[in-house]
Symmetry: C2
Subunit: 150 residues, 2 copies
């Protein structure tokens, strides 16, 4: 059986078929947290994804309706990747993953201020993040939380 064949009609299994690999959520993070949008920007992430793996993930995420791909207007070599609504709807899942990771990761880089800000009023924070990403912004810029986020 190919690994990505549908194994059941469970909603969790569907979600894992979509984003249950080691890279997809990190690409979503790069867009939501850091405002990345091009191949080269994703490639430059801390986790050092290989070009072949990144290419495969981007093609796959577009095929699955999580990313949109458009040729950049300023530089026609560049492809611009943005989250679809389906992709933006992964923000809550990503925040839960981050909260869990920050709680149990002894070496976490997540600031406690950011974590408590999210816990404080999660739905409002999700809306604000979503709006920011839709309008071309992101949570972090140059290593600092956006002013609206705290």
């Amino acid at each position: 059986m190919k690994r990505n064949d549908r194994k059941s009609d469970c909603a969790i299994n569907y979600a894992l078929d979509m984003i249950g690999d080691p890279w997809s959520m990190l690409i979503v993070r790069d867009i939501v947290y850091f405002g990345k949008r091009t191949f080269g920007e994703f490639l430059a992430s801390q986790e050092r994804i290989a070009t072949s793996a990144l290419s495969r993930r981007l093609i796959d995420l577009e095929y699955k309706g999580i990313l949109d791909k458009t040729t950049s207007l300023e530089d026609k070599r560049k492809e611009t990747y943005t989250l679809t609504n389906k992709g933006l709807d992964l923000i809550p899942t990503m925040l839960e993953l981050a909260a869990w990771g920050a709680r149990y990761d002894a070496n976490t880089g997540a600031s406690s201020a950011w974590i408590t800000a999210v816990e404080q009023d999660k739905p409002a924070m999700i809306d604000r993040i979503r709006q920011a990403v839709r309008t071309g912004n992101a949570v972090f810029s140059e290593g600092k939380e956006a002013t609206w986020s705290l």
Copy 2:
């Protein structure tokens, strides 16, 4: 590089190192939703995991502190797997994954009643699920939602 070497100090990356494979969350689901706790019960899931893969996952999840393993008292051949606190804390993430999957999966098996019940008051529902699992119960039994869950 081995796939599970630590790639960065990002909390999301940590979480993916822990449960970012195609099976771990399904094992958590089997415990939380269906009250499964033995090798044979996990093996009988819809998704048809192979014995070798299941064995690997269980060893790994115990090593990572997400599952506890104890020899069954009634039948000493059986190992009983239960969620640690770290594992129980995955319930919010699992519910978000399920909600996202149910929203975008055309063939979802998730009932809309259950989904809206969770959306209605998420923190309270998480507490109730957590309590149920800790005391040896589960969300679904014989295909129906537990009475407390709706």
